[in-house]
């Protein structure tokens, strides 16, 4: 039954259906509504048994989850942006210890300048941490992915991060079909830890490993992610058979069969992209979209197959590696290993800048005419940047560029400082 609810609410209710035993909460926008809703359910007793712990930082949130998971409890938390970076050391540690924690990441930009709006910089910052990273395209998928995430995490002893576009999804109210408790209970068996703090069979967890075996330990983690490449589509298929919903999987192709230009992207922008592709198709352009749902593990083979017949691939990314270029693009390039395919990177939507259909149409049009630069920043105000560069050239103490650019673009009153 469809219910008109906020994405965060749908995620919270789905997480509750997964019967988490320890949930740690630290507020950071835009994930707060999720953790608030879970907290209320625990407080009211509708989610029980569950320990809801208000911690003093994200670093503590992940650390509490580590302790709980190592003691055999199903542990969950949610964060975003700075919060993810603040818990970074523990994020790596959870993966290194092989603890199947599930965390929602409400994707948000990273400061400075401080910015609460959506992009994917936070997820990219932890892409090498050993966590599985799944990107939701819609709120329905965001909710559904959490059930799959717990199953995947606990089967493989690998933590899973469900990446959900902040505000665009977390705060959007739309019709969502929530799962039944009976289905979740049958789909997701109780957590059986591979290692656990047990006084009846004491083990030491987390001790030092030297060069004698460190590489093997890391390679084993890699193999578990490769196992996930097998399990992610299987789990999505099982889920589809039970619910009729296509949530999860490795990649999601859209109208790529005969496409000459394929745009690759992750997250909620895929919806806008598909609409744009439909429109360009009507105008006679052979364009398609490839959504990447599983960013880690990276589905190289599925990507290679999907892009095999394209003459041009445009990777639309909500993040980039400063001083280098696209992040997802790099993975795509390695996966394709085809010199004859033109690869273009379009960086878009940084810090919440709206990615409009009009702008995407221009991208597709330019791509079709082979006019895209190797690295494009969508809707970038080059003149404003040039003027700031000139100011910096003219004056040593030119001040905070972030403020200067806002003034330059007339976003704040010119008179405010004068």
């Amino acid at each position: 039954m469809l219910r008109q609810i906020e994405g965060s609410r749908a995620i919270a209710e789905t997480v509750a259906l997964c019967r988490p035993e320890v949930v740690c909460a630290y507020p950071i926008s835009p994930q707060t509504h999720i953790i608030e809703a879970v907290g209320a359910m625990v407080k009211a007793g509708t989610l029980a048994p569950c320990e809801f712990i208000n911690v003093e930082s994200e670093f503590a949130a992940m650390s509490v989850a580590i302790g709980a998971s190592a003691t055999g409890a199903r542990a969950y938390t949610a964060t975003a942006s700075q919060g993810l970076l603040f818990m970074m050391e523990a994020v790596y540690n959870a993966a290194g210890l092989g603890l199947p924690i599930v965390m929602t990441l409400a994707n948000r930009a990273i400061g400075a300048p401080i910015n609460i709006w959506n992009d994917h910089s936070d997820a990219m910052a932890v892409r090498d941490s050993g966590w599985i990273q799944l990107f939701a395209e819609s709120n329905q998928e965001a909710a559904d992915l959490h059930v799959q995430a717990f199953l995947l995490a606990e089967e493989l002893s690998v933590p899973v991060m469900v990446c959900v576009d902040g505000f665009i999804l977390t705060h959007a109210v739309e019709g969502i079909d929530l799962l039944e408790q009976s289905f979740v209970d049958s789909f997701l068996p109780p957590y059986e830890p591979r290692q656990v703090l047990d006084t009846k069979a004491p083990v030491s967890i987390g001790a030092m490993v030297g060069p004698e075996a460190f590489e093997e330990v890391r390679y084993l983690a890699h193999l578990r992610q490769l196992d996930a490449l097998e399990r992610i589509p299987e789990i999505a298929q099982e889920f589809f058979e039970a619910t009729g919903r296509e949530s999860g999987g490795l990649v999601r192709p859209y109208r790529i069969e005969d496409a000459e230009v394929i745009v690759v992207a992750m997250g909620s922008v895929l919806g806008t992209l598909k609409d744009t592709v439909d429109e360009r198709r009507n105008a006679g352009e052979l364009v398609g979209v490839l959504g990447v749902t599983s960013f880690r593990p990276f589905p190289s083979e599925a990507v290679r197959n999907a892009l095999a017949n394209a003459s041009q691939v445009v990777v639309l990314e909500k993040a980039f590696s400063i001083g280098a270029g696209g992040v997802l693009s790099t993975d795509i390039a390695i996966a394709m290993h085809r010199d004859e395919t033109i690869l273009r990177t379009v960086v878009a939507g940084l810090g919440g800048r709206a990615i409009t259909r009009r702008s995407l149409e221009k991208v597709l049009e330019d791509a079709s005419h082979n006019q895209l630069a190797p690295l494009t920043f969508l809707d970038l105000d080059h003149e404003a940047v040039d003027r700031e560069r000139a100011r910096m050239q003219a004056t040593r103490r030119s001040g905070p560029s972030a403020e200067n650019l806002l003034r330059d673009r007339n976003t704040v009153s010119q008179g405010a400082k004068e």
Partner: protein, 337 residues
């Protein structure tokens, strides 16, 4: 009761008395079937105060809980010398995560036990002074504030010894460390308050806070036993001399710890609900020189260019402790718990 044949090689030390007692009066640690949280064969330095403190504290916790304890360990000497895989000295479930998160990890362990309805297994978290007063401080304060059911033990050797003797916020003034070298007009660590963690812990109004040294191990054991009778956040701060970092002889660890207490520099007390309930009085008062001069980290205060002015400042710190905690108070005040 089983026992081991005793060699009286310790004659002249305070420890020998135990061996001369009747079997039933001997300490538990003298018995072969004692609790054994940390097995022998680990890599601690000779004379390590932390290894001694940890053994007594955790063995006491094991006895108090019938062996039902889980230990969480911060990164540091104790973690390193007790484990590197594939070896481990730990005979209890033991988890090391990071340097700064042991209190929060312990909170997670306690929460998992609670949610699973396990009431008899108790959680002990432990760290050195760096992992407690510096990098772990935020998590520790959070664990205290929530009154999570964790006994947190700080083994205070007054510096980052595992990384090569650097200053921490528990390093005493004037002490030489690798980051407060004994050079310049004010050699060694600067004077300041540092972080007095036991008092900060008391300010959280947690049910139990105590300090101890490895010079009085029965006092340490008693405090652990008392802590395990209580639910909620408990804090035990143990002074553990580090022969390497302090530049003291490895056979002087107990002596140095005793002088820290007897000089007044390290007050030994017990507090419940934020109120001091007992103090260990000074039995044989000593000037701070007697404590300082045994340690090379204070060598620059003595010798060819002595610094009586600096020693006087340290003495005044001891005098303040003596006044604050009533370390010279009459006998009756001690047994008021």
């Amino acid at each position: 009761m089983t026992s081991q044949r005793v060699h009286f090689y310790q004659i002249g030390s305070f420890a020998v008395g135990n061996r001369l007692l009747d079997q039933e009066e001997r300490t538990v640690q003298a018995q072969a079937d004692r609790a054994n949280s940390i097995d022998s064969g680990h890599r601690a330095c000779q004379g390590c105060g932390e290894a001694l403190g940890a053994r007594y504290a955790l063995d006491a916790a094991m006895r108090a809980t019938n062996g039902q304890i889980v230990a969480v360990n911060a990164t540091g000497c104790l973690e390193v010398f007790s484990t590197p895989y594939p070896e481990t000295s730990w005979r209890i479930p033991w988890l090391h995560s990071l340097f700064g998160n042991a209190p929060a990890v312990a909170t997670g362990v306690a929460a998992a036990l609670r949610v699973k309805g396990v009431k008899d297994v108790r959680v002990v978290a432990q760290a050195g002074d760096g992992g407690t007063v510096d990098i772990g401080f935020g998590c520790l304060s959070g664990m205290f504030e929530r009154n999570d059911d964790v006994l947190f033990i700080c083994y205070d050797n007054q510096g980052y010894m595992n990384t090569g003797v650097q200053r921490s916020a528990a390093t005493p003034p004037a002490a030489r460390t690798a980051t407060t070298e004994a050079v310049g007009p004010e050699p060694g660590n600067t004077f300041g308050q540092g972080k007095d963690l036991p008092r900060i812990a008391m300010a959280h109004n947690i049910p139990y806070v105590a300090t101890a040294t490895v010079a009085d191990l029965h006092d340490l054991e008693r405090k652990v036993e008392r802590a395990m009778e209580i639910r909620g956040a408990r804090y035990l701060h143990i002074l553990v001399p580090c022969p390497l970092g302090w530049g003291s002889a490895s056979d002087e660890t107990i002596h140095v710890a005793r002088l820290a207490k007897e000089s007044g520099l390290f007050p030994v007390f017990e507090a419940e609900g934020g109120v001091i309930r007992s103090v260990s009085r000074i039995r044989r008062p000593v000037p701070v020189e007697e404590y300082l001069s045994l340690q090379r980290r204070f060598a620059h205060l003595f010798g060819a260019h002595p610094r009586p002015d600096v020693i006087a400042r340290i003495q005044s710190m001891a005098d303040e402790n003596i006044a604050r905690y009533g370390l010279f108070a009459p006998e009756s005040a001690e047994e008021s718990v």
